[in-house]
Amino acid sequence: MTVRRRVLILVSAVAVLAAVGLASVLHASARADRRDHVQAGGPRVTPGAVTLRDPGRLVFRNMAWGPHRDELTAVPADAPGGPRTASGLKCLRFYAASGAGVCLQAVHGAVSDTYRALVLDSRLRTVHRYDVPGIPSRARVSPTGHFAAWTAFVGGDSYAGTDFSTRAAIVDTRSGELIPSLEAFRIVRDGHPYRAADANFWGVTFAADDRTFYATLATKGRTYLVRGDLRRRTVTTLHADVECPSLSPDGTRVAYKKRVAGLPKDAPWRLYVLDLRTMRETPLAETRSVDDQAVWKDARTVVYALPGDYGADLYEVPADGSGRAHRISSAAVSPAYLD
C-alpha cells in the first residue's frame, strides 16, 4: 500500500468515526434537553419558599423532568405524591433536622466536576461550605441539628481503576469544625484496639445526645455496625453485616441494609431492623434489594428510595416486618421529614 493510499484510508476513517462520535454527542445532548421539559403526567412543581422549620412537611430532591429537576422540593408529609414546591437549590443528596440541613452538590468546573457540602440554616442559606473528595453518597443531620455527616465515594486512579473507598466526614454545624474522615477515630473491635489501612466508614446516623453516632465500618471484606463516640473519638463494633444504619427516633432500633447470602451480586441487600437492646434482627417486608440509607417517618415506618423511571422513587414499609412496601412518591430521592 502506498503512503498516499494509507493516508486516504485514515482520513476517510477519521471522517466516519468523527461523524459517529458527533452523532452520539448530539443524541445525548438532545436527550438532556428533553429532561428540562415537563413530562406529561408528572407531579406539578411550582417555585416557592421552602424552609426547614415546617413540621408536617417532607423535603426531598425532585427528580421529575422540567425546569426544577434536582431541586429540593417540599410536599405535605401526609400527601407526598401531591404538588411540589421547588426551592431553587439543587442537591445530589440532602437531609435536615431541627432546622439545619446538609446539601451535597456538584460544582461544574471547566475541566472536571468537583463536589461540596453545604450546611444550611432553616431558610436554606449556606452557613458553612466544605470540599467533598468524591461522589456524594449519604447525608445525615443529628436530631438536634448540631452535627451533620456525609459519605463520598473516592474513586481509584489506576488503569481501569476498580479500587474504590469511602470517606465519611462529620461536622459541628455550630462551630463549623470538621472531622474530614472517621478513619482518624480509634477502632475497638470485639473489645480490642484494631488498626487497618483498609478501614472504610460510611452511612453515619446520629443519636439525640450530640455525642453518640452509628455507622458502617468495612475492613477485610466484612462490614460492621459501629457505635461512635464524638468526644472520645472512638468507634466500637456492635454487630456484623450492617450497612447504612438509620437510628429510630427513640434511639432503640437501627434500620439498615443487610447483605444476604445467596442473592445476586448486583442486588445483594435486604432491609432489616436491628433491636439494639436484644441485637435481634427483623427482616422487613420489602422484597427488593435496597441500596439506600432509610429514614424513619415515625416510630413505626421507614422510608427509602428504589430505582425508578426518572432515577428514583420513594417507598415506605412498616418497621416491624409486617405489612408490605408501597410507593409514596415517584421521581424523588433523599427525603427528610421536617420537625
Binding site: M1, R6, I9, L10, A13, V14, L17, A18, V20, G21, S24, V25, H27, A28, S29, R31, A32, R35, L92, H108, V111, S112, D113, T114, D131, V132, P133, G134, I135, S137, F153, V154, G155, G156, D157, S158, Y159, A160, G161, T162, D163, F164, S165, T166, R167, P180, R195, A196, A197, D198, N200, A218, G221, K265, D266, D291, P307, A312
Partner: protein, 423 residues
C-alpha cells in the same frame, strides 16, 4: 544480531535505517506511529477510567465497593496473558504487530460493550477483557519500539513513546468531561466517542506500523538456539545480562510502593486538601511527560543502568521527603515531580536496557518476562505494604519500604550488567 546489538550499534541497523545512529537523528517513524497509537488509545481508555466511578454510582446507581476484590486474582491472570502475548508475538518470525493489534482491538471492542453492561458482573467482565487487551499488547509494542531503533537511541525512542502515551492519558479525562458537560450525564456518548477513538488507534497501528514479519533485522538471522519456543524464552533467563536485569527489576519492584499508597501518604502526611486529591496522579503524569524524553536521551548517553538506578534514587528521596516532619508548601509538588521522574527514568529505560540483552527473535518474550516479573513483585509489595501499614502504621511501613528500596538499589549496583550500551 545479538552480538551486534551489544557492541557495535551501527552496522546492522544502519542498513535498515540509514538516518539513525546519530545523536540528533530523528526518531524512527515506527516509534512515532506507535507513540500515536498509544496516545490515541490512552485518550480512549482514560476517558472511560475517568468517568467510570461516576457512571457506576450516579449513572447506574451501583455501589462500587468491593469491586476491586477480584483485582488480586486478575493480576495473576494478566501476568499470564502478558507472557503468552510475548511468546505468540515472537513466533512465526515476529508477529509483534498483529498480537499488539489484537490487544488494541480487544480493548476497543470493550468500549461499546460498556453501553450494554448494566450490572456489576458484566461490567467486571468487560473491564477484565479490557485489561487482557492491555496485557497482550504491551510486550509486542515495546518489542516493536526496540526493533525499530538502533541500540544507541533506544532510550530516547522509549522516552518519546512514553511521553506520547502519557500525553494521551492526560487528554483523555479532559475529553470525557467536556463531553459530559455538553451532554449532561451522557455516559453513552463518552463510551461511543471512546470507542471511535480506540478504533482510530487500531487503524493507525494497522496502516502505519510496519508488519512484524521480517522486521528490522529479519527473523532468519536468529540463531537456531534462539528459535521462539517457550523453552527458548525460558532459556533467556540463563543469559547473565537479562537475568541480572530481571533480578534487579524484581527486587526494586518489591520495594516500589504502589501509586495509590503514595497519594494516600501524600494526603495523610503532608495534609494535601481533599479537593486536590483527585489531581495528584496528574502531577505524576505531568512530570513523567516532561522528563521521559530528556531522561531517555540521558540514558543513551550515560548508560541505561545508571539512569534506571538514579530513578529509584529519586523514588527513595520522595519516600524520605514523605518521612520528614518538614511540611513546606512546595513539598507535595516536589514529591510528585520525583515520583514522575522515577517513572520517566525507569519505565521506558528498563525496556531499553532489557532490549540490549534479548536477541531480536525473542524480543517480545524477553520484555514480557521482565515486565511480568516487575508487575508481580510490585503487586506483592502492595500486599506487604498494606499489611505493614495495618500492623505498624503508615510511617513505619514507609520507613520499611525506604530501607528495602535502599538495600535493593545497593544490591542492584553490585549486579550492574557489564555490557551497557551507550551512544
Amino acid at each position: 544480531m545479538y552480538v551486534a546489538d551489544s557492541r557495535a550499534s551501527t552496522s546492522a541497523h544502519a542498513a535498515v535505517r540509514p538516518s539513525a545512529g546519530r545523536r540528533r537523528a530523528a526518531v524512527a517513524p515506527t516509534v512515532l506511529a506507535l507513540g500515536t497509537v498509544s496516545l490515541v488509545t490512552d485518550v480512549s481508555s482514560e476517558m472511560v477510567t475517568a468517568v467510570l466511578p461516576l457512571y457506576l454510582v450516579s449513572g447506574l446507581g451501583l455501589s462500587p465497593l468491593g469491586f476491586g476484590l477480584l483485582d488480586g486474582i486478575y493480576n495473576g491472570f494478566s501476568a499470564l496473558v502478558r507472557l503468552v502475548g510475548g511468546h505468540f508475538a515472537d513466533r512465526g518470525g515476529g508477529r509483534h504487530k498483529w498480537v499488539a493489534g489484537i490487544g488494541y482491538g480487544i480493548s476497543a471492542v470493550c468500549k461499546p460493550l460498556l453501553l450494554v453492561a448494566h450490572a456489576l458482573t458484566p461490567i467486571g467482565v468487560v473491564l477484565a477483557a479490557d485489561r487482557t487487551g492491555k496485557g497482550l499488547r504491551t510486550a509486542p509494542r515495546d518489542a516493536l519500539i526496540s526493533l525499530a531503533s538502533t541500540p544507541g537511541t533506544r532510550g530516547r525512542a522509549f522516552g518519546v513513546h512514553r511521553a506520547m502515551d502519557t500525553a494521551g492519558a492526560l487528554l483523555g479525562p479532559l475529553a470525557a468531561f467536556l463531553i459530559l458537560r455538553a451532554t449532561v450525564d451522557g455516559y453513552d456518548a463518552v463510551f461511543t466517542v471512546s470507542f471511535c477513538v480506540a478504533v482510530l488507534g487500531v487503524l493507525v497501528l494497522v496502516l502505519f506500523v510496519p508488519g512484524g514479519r521480517g522486521g528490522p533485522g529479519g527473523p532468519g538471522e536468529a540463531a537456531p538456539a534462539e528459535r521462539p519456543t517457550v523453552r527458548a524464552a525460558l532459556a533467556l533467563l540463563r543469559r547473565r545480562d537479562l537475568r541480572r536485569i530481571t533480578v534487579c527489576a524484581l527486587l526494586l519492584g518489591l520495594a516500589t510502593v504502589s501509586d495509590s499508597f503514595v497519594y494516600l501518604l501524600l494526603q495523610r502526611r503532608l495534609g494535601v486538601p481533599d479537593r486536590w486529591f483527585a489531581l495528584l496522579p496528574l502531577g505524576t503524569a505531568a512530570a513523567f511527560l516532561l522528563l521521559a524524553v530528556p531522561l531517555g536521551r540521558l540514558a543513551d548517553r550515560v548508560g541505561r543502568w545508571a539512569v534506571f538506578l538514579a530513578g529509584h534514587g529519586a523514588l527513595l528521596v520522595a519516600y524520605a521527603l514523605l518521612l520528614t516532619s518538614w511540611h513546606g508548601a512546595g513539598l507535595p509538588y516536589l514529591v510528585l515531580a520525583l515520583h514522575g521522574g522515577f517513572y520517566a527514568a525507569t519505565d521506558g529505560v528498563l525496556m531499553a536496557a532489557a532490549s540490549d540483552s534479548v536477541p531480536d527473535g525473542l524480543r517480545s518474550s524477553g520484555l514480557a518476562v521482565v515486565q511480568t516479573g516487575q508487575a508481580l513483585t510490585r503487586f506483592a509489595c502492595s500486599l506487604l505494604f498494606g499489611a505493614a501499614w495495618t500492623v505498624w502504621g503508615d510511617r513505619a511501613a514507609l520507613a520499611g519500604a525506604a530501607a528495602a528500596l535502599a538495600a535493593c538499589a545497593a544490591f542492584s549496583l553490585t549486579l550492574r550488567p557489564e555490557r551497557t550500551v551507550t551512544a
